[in-house]
């Protein structure tokens, strides 16, 4: 393995330039170095003005998502050596406005997320004296996968629909809605159905399936959306053929 590798980093300095440019840096390519280590090396030794987000460097906080050689990746979980001999292209996540260098603006997601009410909704809270809401392992299993989401936005970067239709709720928001819909303690599915069954909700999805492929947490947002489509269709049919009381 070569001991150095070149990183072609997308820079965008709005006070200086109207469009992003590429800047090349040479960094050490240690066996145990991830792309994020390379960026940290640049920031510490070569150019302190390089701007990017990171925090946990262990795939938990979801802040280090970037486009590495065209693919959305968590840079703390992507080894430089995978790309040897290089060069490695590092760019911000696609489908989001760039604030600076590798930092994206994700306010859009932050506004969409609460629309699906991703919290437990109860018609009536159980009195405290009755204790906690118990769940069996099977009930936990129903939604656990969807609760693993770290809001890293890799799925939004991979989804062509997100890029083409800015109103689309997007993979993670719908998967998170499902996380609560499938929770045995939750009673808010009907409230969420309204937002989710709009065109900009599940029906915006054309099942490209890339969100699931890039998700570092195996959330399978594409699966969540298709399952929800099935459910929404059944609900719709029921509303047609069944009297109110039987629903």
């Amino acid at each position: 393995m070569p001991d150095r590798i070149s990183l072609q980093v997308l820079r965008y300095r709005p006070e200086q330039e109207a469009e992003p440019t590429v800047q090349e840096f040479e960094v050490p390519c240690h066996k145990d170095w991830v792309v994020l280590d390379g960026l940290n090396y640049i920031k510490d030794r070569l150019d302190g003005s390089l701007t990017y987000r990171w925090s946990c460097r262990m795939g938990i906080c979801g802040s280090c998502g970037m486009t590495v050689n065209g693919e959305p990746k968590l840079t703390c979980a992507t080894f430089l050596s995978e790309y040897a001999p290089g060069p490695v292209q590092v760019a911000p996540l696609r489908n989001f406005p760039i604030i600076r260098d590798l930092v994206i603006e994700m306010g859009d997601f932050m506004r969409k997320l609460p629309e699906v009410k991703p919290w437990i909704i109860r018609k009536e809270e159980k009195p405290l004296a009755e204790g906690e809401y118990l769940q069996t392992p099977e009930q936990l299993d129903d939604y656990k996968q969807f609760s693993m989401c770290i809001n890293c936005m890799l799925c939004y970067a991979a989804c062509p629909v997100v890029g083409l239709d800015s109103h689309f709720l997007g993979p993670a928001a719908i998967a998170l809605a499902q996380r609560y819909n499938l929770d045995s303690r939750d009673q808010g599915a009907a409230e969420r159905l309204e937002v989710l069954s709009q065109h900009e909700g599940i029906w915006g999805c054309t099942f490209v399936g890339e969100c699931t492929k890039v998700c570092p947490k195996n959330v399978d947002p594409a699966g969540a959306i298709q399952r929800y489509k099935l459910k929404a269709t059944i609900e719709w049919l029921k509303s047609f053929f069944m009297p109110r009381g039987a629903r």
Partner: protein, 137 residues
């Protein structure tokens, strides 16, 4: 994405990349997706072809013979061969995606995806077998 930023000194310009019209050429997976979407046109064509066949059969022996002659023309055969390939692509890609859309439980356990896709394929083989048997009979 959908809200415009305020341009102020301390809130500089965001850079927005535009999605290219040819985004579906950017990744093999996107291209396959577009082919899968396109395949529905050919599925529709097969339905039309089948309806035309039924119409020809109900129209008597002469119209059936005319239909057969028309269907044997190289252009029509070529179209049908291409359609068959697309329909196969359509079937296979959708069968492989089916497990993602269905979370089936049996005795409290999630049925593995391969079983769901597998049962689709099995049903495909059985139905094709029955149709073949009907034709050969």
């Amino acid at each position: 994405m959908n809200q415009q930023p305020n341009y102020t000194e301390h809130h500089p310009r965001w850079y927005r990349t535009r999605v290219s019209t040819y985004w579906w050429l950017e990744k093999p997976a996107y291209f396959l997706f577009i082919l899968r979407e396109l395949s529905s046109v050919f599925v529709a064509w097969f339905v039309v072809f089948l309806l035309m066949l039924v119409a020809a059969v109900t129209g008597g022996a002469e119209s059936y013979r005319q239909f057969l002659a028309w269907a044997a023309r190289p252009g029509v055969v070529a179209l049908n061969v291409v359609s068959l390939l697309f329909v196969l692509l359509h079937t296979i890609t959708w069968f492989n995606l089916a497990p993602q859309a269905m979370a089936v439980r049996f005795r409290g356990k999630r049925v593995p995806g391969i079983w769901i896709a597998g049962s689709n394929y099995a049903a495909w083989v059985i139905v094709s077998g029955v149709v073949l048997w009907l034709i050969v009979q």
